[in-house]
């Protein structure tokens, strides 16, 4: 099966990235390697604490890494201190909570003008109107404040703001999880349409595989600071190789249930525990397939025949 996107040149690459917050003993990222191609959406999925937000924040330069290489457009990522604005405008962020990410004291016009003004771009009213049209908002919101807009409208403003500088890369951190299902679908479709027309690449973080399946060409599944499976979304969902991926997919509520109440689906028990064992598979305490080997040997992210990669000693479907 092929993706419906022409795989372009690599636009973001992350190699063996390690990040530890000073307040924590355990590192949050323990060697993450992945890349994002031009025009592609890579979904990043995992539970709270798996490091998916830290990954995004490292890529945009909000967090400094302990080791590893991040390249954006072939160069190193923009640090906060060095003022390489050309690089920084090439990569933009959309946050989870559109109630917190927009300044409540600014009008929508001011919010959308800010990044353009800072970067010395055209911030005329006609340009702002163009941005509103692009995300399907009426011009009448121009002088409104965020408090007057619904959650979905605010998230459209946040997307318009992020796209105003015509970035090459959009980083989206749970952009629809604070929204109603109906509005979620509007925003998901908007992101897909805009990507098609403007050609930017997306790194889309969510804890919900069903949402990821709607946006991502490829998906990276993260568990406690590591990528445990990465590959084409449709393939990963159809035949997950990592038990964790299978369990994540089984956790998503469905409209068609096999039998009422109980089902034959796998369920993972417990929560990810970060106070882990230095060696062995980090998922083994919740895994129903774990063996002695999983206790002693940390699995590496190895390619399977299908072109996908999985970090498991006992990948499924073998």
């Amino acid at each position: 099966m092929t993706t419906d996107v022409a795989v372009g040149p690599t636009i973001v690459s992350v190699e063996d990235l390690h990040v530890r917050y000073r307040s924590r003993v355990e590192p949050t990222l323990k060697g993450v390697t992945l890349s994002l191609a031009a025009g592609e959406t890579l979904g990043v999925v995992g539970e709270s604490g798996c490091g998916k937000s830290t990954l995004l924040r490292s890529i945009i330069g909000l967090i400094s890494s302990d080791s590893g290489v991040i390249k954006v457009l072939g160069g190193r990522p923009p640090g906060l201190s060095d003022g390489d604005l050309n690089e920084r405008v090439a990569i933009q962020f959309v946050h989870q909570d559109p109630f917190a990410s927009l300044n409540p004291r600014m009008s929508i016009r001011q919010i959308l003008q800010a990044p353009l003004r800072v970067n010395g771009r055209d911030h005329s009213t006609s340009r702002i109107r163009e941005l509103l049209d692009m995300v399907g908002l009426s011009h009448s919101v121009l002088e409104s404040h965020p408090a007057h807009l619904s959650g979905g409208q605010r998230q459209r403003v946040a997307i318009a703001r992020a796209l105003s500088t015509k970035p090459k890369v959009l980083l989206l951190d749970e952009p629809v999880s604070a929204l109603d299902v109906s509005v979620q679908a509007q925003v998901v479709n908007l992101i897909n349409d805009l990507q098609k027309s403007q050609g930017f690449s997306c790194l889309f973080v969510s804890h919900d595989l069903a949402v990821i399946a709607q946006v991502a060409h490829r998906v990276a599944v993260m568990y406690l600071g590591r990528v445990v499976e990465i590959g084409e979304t449709s393939q990963v969902l159809r035949e997950p190789a990592h038990p964790y991926t299978m369990a994540l997919a089984a956790s998503v509520p469905r409209l068609r249930r096999e039998s009422k109440g109980e089902s034959s689906q796998v369920r993972i028990i417990g929560e990810p525990s970060a106070n882990v064992m230095a060696t062995g598979c980090p998922f083994r305490s919740r895994c129903w397939m774990a063996t002695n080997r999983c206790d002693v040997e940390t699995p590496l992210l190895d390619p399977l025949a299908s072109g996908r990669k999985v970090a498991c000693h006992h990948p499924l479907g073998r």
Binding site: D4, E47, S48, S150, G151, G152, D180, V181, S182, V183, Q184, A185, Q186, V188, N189, N192, H207, D208, L209, A210, V211, A213, Q214, V215, A216, H217, T233, S234, L237, A247, L248, A249, A250, S251, V252, P253, R254, L255, R256, R257, G261, E262, R267, I268, I269, E271
Partner: protein, 328 residues
């Protein structure tokens, strides 16, 4: 009293909010019946009135709200005229509740144990503190908190979101209620933890043959927990029936639209169909169907413009309020 054996009966309930001369309709003529041991799911978008509806079943409506019509019967007794003090004997005792956000539902300055003690002691004055403690430990272990006796002096911030929601479920069932009302209880949780908490609700419901009203904006969540589902739109129930009927073969155009925008694993990328626009806010009288503006079927139909549809029996015995659906 010819109310057969229904645990809860709501007839023609309407709730309005008044500010100045504006009168906003939140719930408009809703009927509900719930039997013992039955789970009813309520779905709909933000602002459709689902939370106001269940809040009125708890006597917790804000002071700006007015119940303008309706009768509530619970365990054969009228709830409509219950006073503030009367509610205290019902709420938390006969009707338990679990809210969306397990972080704000607990007092951050008090231990989890003391908050559970309070929930029990307020309704059971005779229990000794030792008895209460034993009950709390049993309760917490039954909701999946291991080593509960050693964790009673923990503060809420020391527990994860999933554990806090388990504690709140324990609190809600601590006085063995007949009815449990859960308002988006898993929305703030990770999908994996959501699956575990839903499993917990199912097992509690079965063990105690509790009746439950379960509110969610997610069709999948409601489907995994409820026997019947009512779909709410702009203060009205627009479709109601068994989960398998309503969610797999929706009749009302609104239910169909909700199903089309529900992300489900197995649907190809980019296949969601969004519903344009937002639900209306109803001020004053309304002519015609309130979903008409967003409806694919009835936007131009004369009856949809002129007449507010009422619930009628349709295929499979479900109730549907739509002019375009032929009654059976």
């Amino acid at each position: 009293m010819t109310t057969n054996s229904a645990l809860l009966e709501v007839r023609d309930l309407s709730v309005h909010f008044e500010s100045g001369s504006d009168r906003l309709t939140a719930v408009d003529g809703v009927d509900l019946t719930l039997d013992r041991g039955e789970t009813l799911g309520i779905v709909g978008e933000s602002g459709c009135g689902k939370t106001v509806l269940v809040t009125s079943l708890l006597g917790l409506l804000p002071s700006s709200a007015r119940v303008t019509s309706g009768r509530l019967r619970f365990r054969g007794a009228e709830l409509s005229n219950v006073s503030g003090g009367g509610w205290r004997a019902i709420r938390g005792r006969r009707i338990g509740m679990v809210f969306q956000d397990p972080t704000t539902a607990l007092n951050p300055l008090r231990t989890i144990g003391s908050q559970l003690v309070e929930a029990i002691a307020i309704h059971d004055r005779a229990a000794t503190s030792r008895e209460i403690r034993t009950r709390i430990v049993e309760l917490l272990e039954s909701v999946g908190i291991p080593d509960a006796s050693g964790r009673l002096s923990d503060y809420p911030h020391q527990w994860s979101g999933g554990m806090r929601q388990r504690a709140l479920i324990a609190m809600a069932i601590s006085n063995s209620p007949d009815l449990l009302i859960a308002d988006e209880p898993t929305t703030a949780l990770d999908v994996t933890i959501q699956a575990q908490v839903l499993e917990l609700f199912r097992s509690i419901q079965k063990e105690r043959s509790l009746a439950m009203i379960f509110i969610s904006h997610s069709l999948g969540v409601v489907n995994s927990i409820a026997d019947r589902v009512s779909v709410m739109y702009a203060g009205r129930i627009v479709e109601s029936g068994s989960c398998s009927d309503v969610l797999l073969t929706p009749s009302h155009p609104y239910t169909r639209a909700l199903v089309d925008c529900f992300p489900e694993i197995g649907r190809p990328r980019g296949s969601l169909r969004a519903i344009d626009g937002l639900p209306p806010r109803i001020f004053g009288r309304i002519d015609g169907c309130r979903f008409r503006e967003r409806c694919e079927v009835g936007r131009e139909r004369a009856d949809c413009i002129g007449q507010d549809p009422i619930l009628k029996v349709a295929s499979g015995g479900r109730l549907v309020a739509c002019h375009a659906v032929s009654p059976s």
